[in-house]
Symmetry: C2
Subunit: 362 residues, 2 copies
Amino acid sequence: MSYHPFVGALPNRGVVTLEEVARLAGVSRSTVSRVINGHPHVSAETKARVLEAIERLGYRPHPIARSLVTKRTQIIAMLIPESVTKIFSDQFFGPLLQGAVQACNARGYQLVLALLDDPRRQEELYLKLLHNGYVEGAVVASAPPDDPVIQALQEDGIPAVAVGRQLRLPYVDVDNYRGARMATEHLLRLGYRRIATITGPLDHLHVQDRLAGYRDALAAYGVPYEEALVAEGGFTEVGAMAALAKLLPLNPEAIFVQSDTMAAGVLRALRNHGLSVPDDVAVVGFDDAPLASLLDPPLTTVRQPIRLLGFMAVELLLDILEDRGEKERGNPVLPVELVVRSSCGIDRVRRAPSKETGSQNP
Amino acid sequence: MSYHPFVGALPNRGVVTLEEVARLAGVSRSTVSRVINGHPHVSAETKARVLEAIERLGYRPHPIARSLVTKRTQIIAMLIPESVTKIFSDQFFGPLLQGAVQACNARGYQLVLALLDDPRRQEELYLKLLHNGYVEGAVVASAPPDDPVIQALQEDGIPAVAVGRQLRLPYVDVDNYRGARMATEHLLRLGYRRIATITGPLDHLHVQDRLAGYRDALAAYGVPYEEALVAEGGFTEVGAMAALAKLLPLNPEAIFVQSDTMAAGVLRALRNHGLSVPDDVAVVGFDDAPLASLLDPPLTTVRQPIRLLGFMAVELLLDILEDRGEKERGNPVLPVELVVRSSCGIDRVRRAPSKETGSQNP
DNA sequence: TTGTAAGCGTTATCAT
DNA sequence: ATGATAACGCTTACAA
């Protein structure tokens, strides 16, 4: 047979213990423990002896035994109350995880991504994960403020932070209001007036923030807000395509699509309808996900520092964990930036600056 | 302030222990332990008393303490030696994880997705995860046979299985050879002769299998194999776009692209070059990822049961774990299936079955 | 500076 | 059927 027969459940790393190292080095267990944990008061000489013994025996501390007494595991979880499909198809989560992982690695923690098969069983499964005692803290992303997971976290006293504004959790966020407002005002500045928007699920606070930015931008230009021009796309590509179908009969000149993943769906659907972007309909996205520049046409979008968001969320959590929540910390809000490519029709407008009906900026 | 101040590192679930339950129920710790673990010889009466005490106290066993003695954690890891970016942009991994998670949930295990920030540090990080003692076993996906992770696994005696053919690990695979051959023969049957292919990294066994299928299909139709028509696209969208750039000067009539993610890149790049699919170049993919049918034109591709792959890999691992590797198991190979949509030009061929001899490309 | 000993919360092996 | 008691491998007062 070509592969090893496996023996035992857990790695047989356990065979060599503190005890044996102590014996070989001619010291007590405590002393070995001290050098391992870098305690100050150990003579350089014995320290050397212990280190050598550790080396010779190939000793490695047993984290579970250690956890039992220290109550620490160095494991945190990332909770995303969405289906696995969505997590992996929304361009947002890749960079987010990347940043989170980076922060974890930098501080010696392990990141567990809690994945669900069935979104309806999410509560049950999360609780199982959280209750299992391995998880010291959690960062929850993409959760509405009333998500049961958040309540569960609170009840269990598990330290947690959120990605995106939250009511009862410390959080890291980007300036969604500003981003949405910039996107919409950009469209207004280009001369569009009949501007629709496709949003994410409205129970998410950051979705509301973006919607507010959109509304206020319209107001600032004296354009009346029309309920019918707002459609919910659920942050998915197909959801956005459906939302577009509702919007199209209203003949929007431009659409502010509140995520790049949805924008990709919109571009595709628009093409299916035989409409060209930006000539027939201008489109602006949100995220500046990796694919944004690759779309056809390249997507004008609001860049948010997604990796940084993940990184800072983890940092915030670890700070809380390690200071045991003594300090009061603010909720960082990261800046966003408008990235102008061509889906907004800026080229066309530049070439033929005709559509100049009224642009008076306050 | 709006959110709880957090106390302590780990959930304060620990406050109630076996001891206290025992006291309340008026029995010994051992008895409580027995009812919790469903041991046979406990009188119905005491069992009821214990259960009630557990209920009243809200007791939950402490998995870490338990692990210390049982040597089991019910945690397995999914190792994907790729950058986080790639994991989240390749349409393959979403469904794979979904299947894996499902299998885990069904059997009471926890799935940890080991994520890397820097692919160059992967070895170090994996080792840390594996050595930390929480992980009972691992399923490794997308690893070449000489990946250091595999060796590390062996050395540590950590049970592992692979997704995709491997030399030194039990594995679950799909019939890559057959899929590639079907795809290529489909193109040949439609009359194309100058057929290029864009592959994944050639050190992966399943990539080699697909390449073999492609070659043999050509041979079966008496078409000479041309090295120059094979380009490596690294399983990424941009990699595929670069590969296409190399291929285009050779005027291929059709391209067998060995993943849907790469195919999406190829379609985009082709459009950028002003070429139409399938009229100028026909394209066939591999995976039947969720986006395949949404592409423009809808992608003809080889469907592999990715979720099932993930599911079965985990099942295989858990079987090994729980039987302690006594039994000898085969390596399941799942069937694939050709899904014909329109990127292969079947419509056009049907309408005008003319293209029987040469190519006229710009 | 170092050793002794008492846990941490379980399960497992004996007895009874 | 149930209860002592000894592990599991480590950290951490408290002593020395």
